[in-house]
């Protein structure tokens, strides 16, 4: 008869103890060096094994679908619709909202440890996508998006769609798009014939309206080294420049230097004090409080100026397309936020079902009608989805989308480092330093950086 396993284990323990006991009484309580070592090793081994255990490789049927997202109007809007999806898929959905930096850091920490507790990832396609793909953190969605006629992948606007592809694989789906908008004070611009059509005109009016000693500024915008780069990109393109030209650094070209000097002069001579410490969070309230005539920033933030809790210019604010530079009006038109699937997720099918549902034609139209600009052309073609936007804003968005370029920052792996390099001449311009020498230095640094970036792209 076989002993039940539990008895066998007990017996084994007894044998082990009796083996350690000797014929002399005190030795009954003694440990040999070997058994002491074995005890310590077993304890350490058990601890290590339990810590390093890979855990179950299949998802718990009751596990929620975990979404990590930025605290954004899009996330707040979809929160209302989540119960619909829970009913559809029969699984609870848990969404965690963080700031952009926190979100990026959380991915870095968790995915470096191959964490499975993130299923759907809200990512910035232009900021993190190449790095995350290189790291193998984003699941390949190519077959899913292209093999689903009802999903209609080709309905996505070309520029955002192209940005979803890294290393010939679709790794994200754009959900929010963004262009720069020119926010201006209609009441102050009446005498000038309305919104300026060119950048030069905007500078002239800014200089004329600025009364800096009394706290009124012609133009307010981002001035932080890294934070300003994305908004400055539209100035760069409209001056005929680009971050890279034929794969080499483009920030030392005459066009780029002209764009640096123009942006620097605009903020240095007509902008608020302390502007080099200003990103969106600091610049936006200055315009909202009626202390500036012009402000250029993402069109996605327009609702701040119509919110009586924040804005004193609800009646006065006007919206216009990006003014033309020497090379015309070339603003960016980018997928500011996209959705991807964590490659370590145990719920990849459900994660895709979520992305398919939330970025499908119907839901994008619903969200756009609620004021969140999406990436589907069908939604943009449907005038009903634009009804929630002020007329002049909807028109400026349409024009900017037509003229727009699909990126607002260098297309590299280490976007953070690239922005720091590109932003240096920008700060020089704002602080009144000579731009050409700083641009030449930054150009040389950026050229070295691009060589290294090319090497690291071999993945």
């Amino acid at each position: 008869m076989t002993m039940p396993p539990i008895r066998r284990r007990h017996g084994a323990a007894e044998r082990s103890l009796s083996r350690g006991a000797g014929p002399v009484a005190p030795a009954k309580h003694a440990l040999t060096r070997r058994s002491f070592g074995a005890l310590v090793a077993a304890t350490a081994g058990a601890a290590t094994l339990s810590a390093c255990s890979p855990g179950p490789r299949t998802a718990d049927p009751n596990a929620p679908l975990r979404i990590m997202a930025i605290n954004h109007v899009w996330s707040q809007a979809i929160a209302e619709h989540l119960p619909e999806f829970e009913d559809l898929v029969g699984r609870r959905v848990s969404m965690r909202l963080l700031t952009a930096d926190q979100l990026s850091n959380s991915y870095n920490v968790k995915l470096n440890a191959s964490a499975t507790d993130i299923d759907v990832m809200m990512v910035r396609a232009l900021q993190e996508q190449i790095l995350f793909t290189r790291n193998g953190w984003l699941a390949d969605l190519t077959d899913r998006v292209e093999g689903d006629a009802a999903y209609d992948w080709t309905d996505f606007q070309e520029a955002p769609r192209e940005r979803s592809v890294t290393a010939d694989k679709v790794v994200s789906v754009p959900i929010v798009t963004e262009r720069p908008a020119l926010y201006y004070r209609k009441d102050l611009l009446e005498d000038f014939g309305g919104a300026p059509a060119t950048l030069e005109e905007m500078l002239e009016i800014s200089l004329e309206l600025a009364d800096r000693n009394n706290g009124f500024f012609g133009y307010v915008g981002r001035g932080q080294r890294s934070g300003a780069v994305t908004q400055w990109s539209s100035f760069l393109y409209s001056f005929g420049g680009d971050f890279t030209v034929d794969g080499a650094s483009g920030i030392g070209t005459p066009e780029a230097i002209a764009a640096y000097e123009f942006y620097g002069r605009l903020l240095a001579e007509t902008g608020p004090p302390g502007v080099t410490n200003m990103s969106l969070e600091q610049a936006m309230p200055i315009f909202a409080q009626g202390k500036a005539a012009f402000y250029i920033d993402a069109d996605a933030i327009y609702s701040n100026f119509l919110d009586p809790g924040i804005s004193t210019v609800i009646e006065e604010v006007g919206f216009a397309p990006f003014p033309a530079g020497p090379a015309g009006s070339v603003p960016h038109n980018i997928p500011s936020w996209s959705l991807g699937i964590n490659r370590f997720s145990l719920l990849q099918d459900d994660a895709w079902e979520f992305i398919r549902w939330i970025s499908g034609p119907e839901m994008v139209a619903r969200l756009q009608a609620a004021g969140i600009p999406g990436a589907r052309q069908s939604a943009w073609d449907d005038s009903a989805t634009l009804a929630s936007f002020p007329n002049d804003l909807a028109e400026s968005m349409r024009i900017n989308a037509e003229n727009g370029k699909g990126t607002d920052r260098p297309d590299v792996i280490q976007v953070g480092r690239a922005r720091d390099i590109v932003g240096r001449p920008l700060v020089a311009g704002i602080t009144g330093a000579a731009v050409p020498p700083v641009a030449a230095d930054a150009d040389a640094e950026f050229a070295d950086f691009l060589i290294r970036d090319n090497r690291q792209r071999e993945f």
């Binding site: 002399v24 003694a30 870095n108 932080q224 302390g274 602080t431």
Partner: protein, 323 residues
């Protein structure tokens, strides 16, 4: 029955120490006390192992990473490059050395100011006065707030356009300042914020030290005609030196590691011209903004060596003084 002769008396074997027990397999067993002692260590070992793991593992991991070209992800295929990251860091005059200088400048400036102010406040509060408890409670307030909340609070106060600080300065005829928005004013402003937050801590530590000092030497000096400054300089300060140095070590190490206030007010890289980038902020940027884990680890190893050296130096000084 004749008594046995001495010669016949059976010899009793002399009592020998108990032979060490042997196990069935012939190995020597350990006596109870010794076993008990070992068992104690065996039972303690999981907790000790856990603590050691939490301290040693990150250190060893960081040290290992600092010798590799780790970039993008720490679990990628990294190559060992020897001390190249250390060489890169130590020859970097654009970011690393300015960050070292700012770390020292910030720490020395902030801690010295806190010490002087803390000592002055502690001397004032040494003798009981009416409302002392209320004053002590108010003094504690900056200590209770989180650094990020403090950063945001000061950002609002010091905002060059909408902040209250420039309005108040305007009342006394001082022109508006850029404070945290200025390249040259940022670090001194951050030092003052740190002083505002941590002077109470210094006050509390020094007040505790003052309360333990004997009163007789001071009374004797008073009888000999020493004035207040002489009593402070020649009686109180020497007796307080050990407490003072301990407070300096505690606060100094803490100030060296300051991160949250700088990041909350100046953002990544310590500002547009890296004007407030200390070593901690630099290492954070290398890790999370640039994903250069190898170089970041090397900077952190150098930073750890720097902190340990400062602590050892101050501890030696404390040891000599107390001896």
């Amino acid at each position: 029955m004749p008594s046995p002769t001495l010669a016949e008396t059976p010899t009793v074997a002399p009592e020998r120490p108990a032979a060490r027990a042997t196990t069935r397999s012939g190995r020597k067993a350990i006596p109870f006390e010794q076993a008990n002692r070992r068992l104690k260590w065996a039972l303690l070992s999981p907790a000790l192992g856990f603590v050691a793991l939490m301290i040693i593992f990150p250190l060893v991991f960081t040290l290992n990473l600092s010798l590799t070209d780790a970039f993008g992800a720490v679990n990628a295929n990294n190559t060992y490059i020897g001390l190249q990251n250390f060489i890169d860091a130590l020859t970097d005059t654009r970011r690393f050395w300015p960050a070292v200088w700012r770390t020292v400048y910030f720490t020395v400036g902030a801690v010295l100011l806190q010490t002087v102010l803390g000592l002055a406040l502690a001397m004032l509060m040494r003798k009981a006065f009416r409302g002392m408890e209320i004053v002590r409670t108010i003094l504690m307030v900056p200590l209770l707030a989180t650094p990020v909340a403090i950063g945001i609070l000061w950002l609002l106060i010091l905002d060059p356009t909408n902040g209250i600080a420039n309005h108040l300065l305007g009342f006394v005829g001082i022109p508006p300042q850029e404070f945290l928005g200025s390249v040259s004013q940022s670090l001194p402003t951050l030092m003052l914020i740190d002083v505002w937050q941590w002077t109470p801590m210094m006050t509390i530590l020094l007040l505790a030290g003052l309360s333990t000092l004997p009163e007789e030497p001071e009374e004797a000096a008073l009888m000999d005609g020493a004035n207040a400054w002489q009593r402070f300089r020649y009686i109180i300060l020497p007796m307080l030196r050990t407490t003072l140095l301990t407070a300096l070590v505690l606060r100094g190490v803490d100030a060296l590691k300051t991160f949250d206030i700088i990041y909350a007010t100046k953002g990544p890289g310590g500002g547009s011209a890296f004007e407030a980038e200390t070593l901690n902020v630099y290492a954070y940027g290398l890790t999370f903004d640039y994903q250069e884990y190898g170089l970041a680890s090397a900077v952190l190893v150098l930073f750890t060596i720097f902190i340990v050296a400062v602590v050892v130096l101050l501890r030696r000084r404390t040891g000599r003084t107390s001896a």
